[in-house]
């Protein structure tokens, strides 16, 4: 009963529910792409450069491909890269933050120095140079994005560990003879998860924009694979000729999905601060 109640309070938060709806729409779109899309995303579906109509409700591009189908399939690559990137940076950043904060000493100083150096770089430029260095592919783009965001998790987790490890119940756990690994995983990590959730969704929103930028520069997928960022890039030459729909729809999807994650993050953080009071 407790659990059902808390899920209800979470959903009652308008930020979270709106954000969740947006994100879930895109997720279902990605999962059910084969059913939703009316045409193949890579083969011509009709005459080129058709404006939005009943047959092509986001129009067709210069090669006659259905823009809507490309948006639907494009969500797959976007969500996949973002999910892999966020999961990797979250896992690595959290783990290093826990170790660094709990053990302290020289290791902590070295790790903090490395993380601060990464953090000091403009994130987009770092992501671009990393992906150029690794070579253009979806997985390399995910790795590049992950590296850029590791310090975000690291700094947050380390800071929390530093304050939690001075609590008496940690001292008590030590006095009862519990080993450090247990203390860190069972008595410190659970106290970090709330804040981690905020960072997680905030970070997803950020990662979407970075992924879009990488795609825009052609650093993720090879054409003709549908991809929002790359379609945006290709569409830009046609907008001055009056074919606005080629660029508009991918250009709308990217910020919309990012806003979805940002809303969830905002909602979770207001919930947490409200709980504390």
């Amino acid at each position: 009963m407790m659990r059902a109640q808390s899920i209800f309070t979470i959903l009652k938060n308008k930020y979270i529910s709106t954000g969740l709806i947006i994100v879930l729409v895109f997720v279902f779109m990605a999962i059910l792409a084969d059913i939703i899309s009316l045409y193949s995303p890579v083969d011509p579906a009709g005459p080129p450069l058709q404006p939005p109509s009943r047959d092509y409700f986001m129009g067709t591009d210069n090669l006659g491909r259905d823009v809507f189908s490309r948006i639907v399939y494009g969500s797959r690559i976007m969500l996949m890269i973002v999910a892999i990137a966020v999961a990797m940076s979250g896992a690595i950043g959290t783990m290093l933050g826990l170790i660094s904060g709990y053990l302290g000493g020289l290791l902590d100083r070295v790790l903090s120095f490395i993380m601060d150096s990464i953090y000091a770089f403009p994130s987009l430029i770092l992501a671009i140079s990393l992906s150029v260095a690794l070579g253009a592919s979806p997985i390399n783009a995910a790795i590049a994005i992950a590296v850029v965001y590791v310090p975000t998790y690291f700094r947050m987790v380390r800071g929390q560990v530093l304050s939690i490890k001075n609590e008496t119940y940690i001292e008590m756990a030590k006095a009862l003879g519990l080993p450090s690994i247990r203390i860190v995983l069972k008595h410190i990590l659970p106290h970090v998860t709330r804040t981690l959730m905020v960072v997680f969704s905030m970070n997803s929103a950020d990662a979407i924009l970075t992924e879009a930028a990488l795609s825009f520069m052609g650093l993720t997928v090879q054409p003709p694979t549908p991809d929002w960022g790359f379609d945006l890039y290709k569409g830009r030459g046609f907008i001055l000729l009056g074919y606005w729909w080629i660029m508009l729809f991918p250009g709308l999807s990217i910020p919309l999905l990012a806003v979805g994650f940002a809303l969830i993050s905002e909602g979770v953080s207001t919930l947490i601060t409200a709980r504390k009071r």
């Binding site: 119940y169 001292e171 008590m172 009862l176 003879g177 080993p179």
Partner: protein, 315 residues
């Protein structure tokens, strides 16, 4: 028969602003089912001494010298793995503030069980131990399934005590176990500590700033000041025959029923242990201070049997 022997223990904190000598050459012996009270003001090194008994002085503190021998084993020389086995099972600790000693996110039973399983108790046995010891500290069984925030301060302290005694350790270090609680609960908790001593034959190191409590409950009393032993004697001996000016000062500072005047206070502040005064650490506040006290550290003098005083007045 000694359960715990401490020989010439030195603990220092290496802080940025200087080296703090928190414990300077403390030695004592603890017999089976004896209660030793360590009395001192804030900053007298008593809590550090308590932590040193479990070899868990926090950074930047370091145990410089000395031995802590528990049941024939020098804890300070044991490996980290051995230490973890010893903590909780042969020597354990009860902390000052019960409101923060339990993990707020986990049920009592989970925390308790985790600790027992870590020490090699199997799950079914762990359950029965938890029930037995919660009952022993006077808590109903339903407390098991509570979260710490659902319990009162006194109940939480009882839970901590139950955990501390569950594996029947030879020594329980209780660091001001009643300071954060109100007077009625203080008495109940101290009665509980007393009964544990009787029932489980554990030896108890009671760290407190309350000389009255020490004289009421303990078997032996050790008065500490500025990291040094000032006086060390059996309770009745100390009560009837206080020697050290500091002990007497503490005693006169106690409020008394039927006394019409205010209790005397001890002027001055405890020393800054980064720069301990030369000679006797107490001499700046001592009304009997002599020239000798400013230059020479007083040795521990046995004034009568098992009554030790560190003061030049008796030299």
């Amino acid at each position: 028969m000694e359960v715990l022997t401490v020989n010439d223990l030195w603990v220092k904190y290496y802080t940025i602003s200087g080296i703090v000598s928190a414990v300077s050459g403390v030695s004592f012996k603890l017999r089976k089912s004896e209660m030793l009270a360590i009395v001192g003001e804030s900053g007298s090194g008593k809590s550090t001494l308590g932590l040193a008994l479990l070899n868990m002085v926090p950074k930047p503190g370091r145990i410089e010298r000395g031995e802590v021998i528990l049941d024939g084993v020098n804890i300070l020389k044991s490996s980290p793995r051995e230490i973890m086995k010893i903590r909780g099972s042969r020597i354990s600790m009860v902390f000052q503030d019960p409101f923060t000693t339990l993990d707020p996110l986990r049920k009592i039973v989970d925390q308790f069980e985790e600790f027992l399983i870590e020490h090699g108790v199997d799950k079914t046995r762990a359950r029965s131990i938890i029930k037995e010891y919660l009952e022993a500290v006077g808590l109903p069984e339903r407390v098991m399934y509570s979260y710490p925030h659902q319990l009162s301060g006194g109940q939480k302290q009882r839970v901590s005590i139950a955990m501390a005694i569950a594996l029947n350790p030879q020594v329980v270090v209780a660091d001001e176990p009643t300071t954060a609680l109100d007077v009625i609960v203080q008495k109940q908790i101290m009665d509980l500590v007393d009964s544990i001593k009787e029932k489980y034959k554990s030896s108890i190191v009671l760290i407190t700033h309350d000389l009255a409590l020490a004289l009421e409950r303990a078997d032996t009393v050790m008065v500490m000041y500025g990291g040094n032993i000032m006086e060390y004697a059996g309770k009745t001996e100390l009560y009837g025959n206080m020697k050290h000016p500091y002990t007497r000062g503490l005693f006169e500072a106690l409020p008394r029923i039927l006394q019409k005047t205010l209790p005397k206070s001890l002027p001055g502040n405890p020393p800054d242990l980064r720069y301990p005064p030369p000679g006797c650490v107490f001499h700046p506040r001592c009304e009997f201070a002599m020239e000798k006290c400013k230059s020479e550290k007083p040795p521990l003098i046995e004034v009568s049997k098992d009554h030790i005083v560190a003061c030049h007045l008796y030299g």
